[in-house]
């Protein structure tokens, strides 16, 4: 199944990537699983996506690591927000 992934702000810069579409292997069914899968792709992904304070959104709503993800979902990874 495919999901669309977005990265923002300092995380986007650290990864050198604003977004991508990935094909998930069976067994990856939530945000935490997706993060592990992305990190396992190599050094460049390991540390930035391992940051302790990362925030997540699924289909444009804030979500936790346990939030389920399915085909066609939009999942975003970003640092704590600082608007206003």
């Amino acid at each position: 199944m495919q999901v669309k992934i977005l990265y923002f702000a300092s995380l986007r810069e650290a990864l050198g990537c604003a977004g991508e579409t990935v094909e998930l292997p069976p067994g990856v069914g939530d945000v935490g699983g997706l993060r592990k899968f992305l990190q396992a792709r190599g050094e460049a992904w390991q540390a930035p996506l391992g940051r302790g304070n990362l925030r997540f959104a699924v289909n444009q709503r804030m979500a936790g690591l346990e939030a389920p993800i399915g085909a066609g979902d939009e999942v975003a990874f970003f640092p704590p927000v600082t608007g206003g």
Partner: protein, 154 residues
């Protein structure tokens, strides 16, 4: 004023005109509380010439609309307007505007501050400052989380 309570744009806005539009043709409003956030020329000991606001188009509007809907659930409000800018903004520029109209001042003040507190912690904006030492992403402030935590679930 357009009918939408929430606008995300790169352009500047006119706080006076926006507040005026909120009560145009009405005589039942007793109180308007507004807030304007500006780019300060200094932050955490460094001079700040400008900043760039990145956001998450789509989610930004949805997050702000949800915060406004939460405010309507908590207080009897007659009108709400939220405008947030993105892109590069120089020191002194307006960043954000919140206006709340209500029959009574207590509800207007509380809802205006509530919206700002949750906007600070829930709306997907990120600031990158231009200082004398280069650019840096602004860190989230613990004080902002604490401010939002003051509002117990309704």
């Amino acid at each position: 004023m357009s009918g939408a309570a929430v606008i995300v744009q790169s352009e500047d806005f006119d706080p006076g005109r926006e507040a005026e539009a909120l009560v145009a043709g009405r005589r039942d409003v007793g109180a308007i509380a507004t807030f304007v956030g500006l780019v300060r020329d200094a932050n955490e000991g460094s001079g700040v010439a400008a900043m760039t606001l990145e956001h998450y188009p789509g989610m930004t509007e949805a997050a702000l609309e949800e915060i406004v809907a939460d405010a309507h659930k908590r207080w009897p409000l007659q009108g709400v307007r939220v405008i947030h800018r993105f892109g590069r903004l120089e020191a002194g520029a307006r960043i954000v505007f919140v206006a709340v109209a209500s029959a009574h001042r207590g509800a207007a003040f509380a809802a205006c501050e509530f919206i700002m507190d949750f906007l600070k912690t829930r709306a997907p904006f990120w600031k990158k400052e231009e200082t004398g030492e280069g650019s840096r992403w602004v860190d989230a402030r613990e004080a902002d989380d604490e401010a939002a935590a003051r509002w117990h679930p309704s």
